[in-house]
Amino acid sequence: MGQDLMALGLNLTSVENLYPSFGGPFADSPARPQDIDYNVPPEYLIN
């Protein structure tokens, strides 16, 4: 019968595109904001 594709951890009903927060093929939930590298202004990179 195949898989229940709704249960693979992707929010298929989302209006937004999924790829910007796609956690990867082996992740069962989207990447969280703290996991996603972002081009923040260089001043924010305070180390």
Partner: protein, 514 residues
């Protein structure tokens, strides 16, 4: 090059690499990376690394090997993964800065030659490493090098933006060379890399005019080709199941975000997806353009031929006509379509499609798919030339339908299954192919000279319907027409009542139509 390194070269390389790693991780470099880099480039120069192509190649080979050796030395302790990444991230930053600043800012060929050189070196070391280590091969270091180098070269930067298509092309070539059938020990990382959110975003969204789509379709075909032998058998071993589920996730993201990409390349994908991979194929065939509104297939008295989109020819980016070989066969085919001669064409059709007597792999599936699509598109053009659209009346008594009816009658069970699959693969969103092939398969049902053909048509449609969602729109409207329209006498056939659960299933579909 097998020529020995100059004495001390490897040591100098390791010294420079460690020096750069220190620089990279100090606070100063964080704040002013260019200054730190320019100081270091002078040092590389002083060590003769930049004196020409050969020392630079040797440098990259040794530096890459250093990083990979570190990976193997520290594989046991996951805590040391951070140290491995600190080395690799620094090394990758050096590569990215060298690529970005080599040659004049406008001269992208120097930059790309350097990038392709480095990628080639990493590929070479990976393939050799896989050969040497066998099942002890570790993907970690290579995965990190490729993804961090891609992220570095995808940063928002005018120089890099200028070469973004060439960078993506270089990585696609690299990943194609490292396709899972050549680097099976790297297959999980490979899927991670080609489906990384930044990679997908670049190749499918930000590269203008969809110039990355064709390259990306090639990578997916590499993946399907690798999976095919393992998916041909219903029971999937865990490692296969893991890769397969990962593939489904990637396809779901594509279905959701880039359905037009799946629409355009579905034909090439269906050529390599095993016919028993029903759900994965349905997922691809269910894609439809986002600006299209699909009428509910269960709408009572839905007039398919009245739909605005039904006459549009779908884009197909595979040269399926060229797949019809040998040339003599194509010539006879065209001649038969034109003038229904040579008459022997029909009787020789099966022998052109059959490639072995081995049960389960008797037929040339890509040729079957190409033949069906080619004859169908020729039929649509022929009908259109009479200012008509495909209907049960306009598709009959034609050379095109002669061929389809001959295939339905002349092929054995396996061949006919593949033939009917080739037709069912065209039942997608409202377009002229869906329309024509829906009429064609229903016509073959009603004109069949044996119940076995009718049963097989039902099986081909049913096996696509009983798997979990999604289901292509064209498949649903065809099956609903088959069970609703009394002209097909569907319910009179014994095979419809062959088992209680089958009968119940048909009734449940029928009820949801009424």
């Amino acid at each position: 090059t097998d020529i020995e390194d100059p004495p001390g070269f490897a040591e100098r390389t390791e010294f420079l690499l460690k020096d750069w790693i220190t620089i990279y991780h100090t606070q100063a470099a964080g704040r002013d990376p260019i200054k730190a880099f320019s100081i270091f480039v002078n040092k590389m120069n002083a060590y003769g690394i930049l004196k020409g192509d050969e020392p630079l190649t040797r440098f990259f080979r040794h530096a890459t090997q250093c990083c990979i050796d570190l990976t193997y030395r520290n594989m046991t302790d996951p805590g040391l993964k951070t140290k491995i990444f600190q080395w690799i991230d620094a090394y990758v930053r050096l590569i990215a800065l060298l690529v970005k600043h080599s040659g004049e800012s406008g001269n992208s060929s120097t930059k790309l030659n350097l990038l392709n050189k480095v990628l080639g070196i990493v590929v070479g070391i990976l393939l050799q490493d896989q050969e040497v280590h066998g099942t002890a091969f570790q993907q970690l270091g290579y995965n990190r090098i490729f993804i961090m180098l891609f992220l570095e070269l995808s940063a928002h930067d005018p120089v890099l933006e200028n070469i973004s298509l060439s960078v993506i092309t270089a990585f696609c070539h690299t990943f194609h060379i490292l396709r899972p059938s050549l680097a099976p020990g790297f297959c999980y990382s490979w899927l991670e890399l080609i489906s990384h959110r930044v990679f997908i975003g670049r190749i499918l969204a930000s590269i203008p005019q969809q110039k990355g789509w064709s390259m990306y379709s090639q990578l997916l075909i590499d993946l399907f080709k690798y999976l095919a032998p393992f998916l041909r058998n219903a029971e999937l071993a865990k490692p296969v199941q893991h890769l397969y589920k990962g593939t489904l996730r990637v396809l779901l993201v594509l279905l959701h975000d880039f359905p037009e990409f799946l629409c355009d390349y579905h034909f090439g994908f269906c050529d390599v997806i095993p016919p028993n991979c029903i759900q994965m194929r349905n997922l691809i065939l269910s894609a439809y353009p986002r600006n299209m509104r699909l009428p509910d297939p269960f709408t009572p008295n839905l007039k398919v031929d009245m739909l605005t989109d039904i006459g549009g020819a779908p884009r197909i980016f595979t040269n399926y006509a060229a797949a019809i070989t040998p040339q003599s066969f194509k010539k006879d085919l065209d001649s038969y379509l034109k003038a229904r001669s040579p008459v022997t064409f029909l009787s020789e059709l099966r022998s052109n499609l059959q490639i072995s007597n081995e049960p389960g792999s008797r037929y040339n599936i890509p040729l079957m798919n190409a033949l069906v699509l080619y004859v169908g598109t020729q039929a649509i053009a022929h009908i259109r030339s009479k200012n008509l659209g495909p209907t049960m009346a306009t598709i009959v008594h034609s050379a095109h339908m002669d061929i389809f009816q001959n295939l339905a009658v002349d092929l054995d069970n396996e061949g006919r299954y593949l033939f009917l699959n080739a037709i069912a693969n065209q039942l997608r969103y409202p377009n002229s192919h869906t329309h024509y092939f829906s009429c064609a398969i229903l016509y073959l049902f009603v004109e069949a000279n044996s119940e076995a053909i009718q049963e097989q048509i039902t099986r081909v449609l049913l096996e696509r319907l009983i798997v979990n969602r999604p289901h292509p729109w064209g498949l649903l409207i065809t099956f609903i027409e088959l069970i609703k329209n009394p002209q097909y006498k569907f319910w009179d056939h014994d095979f419809v009542h062959c088992a209680p659960e089958i009968e119940k299933l048909f009734e449940s579909v029928a009820n949801s139509c009424m």
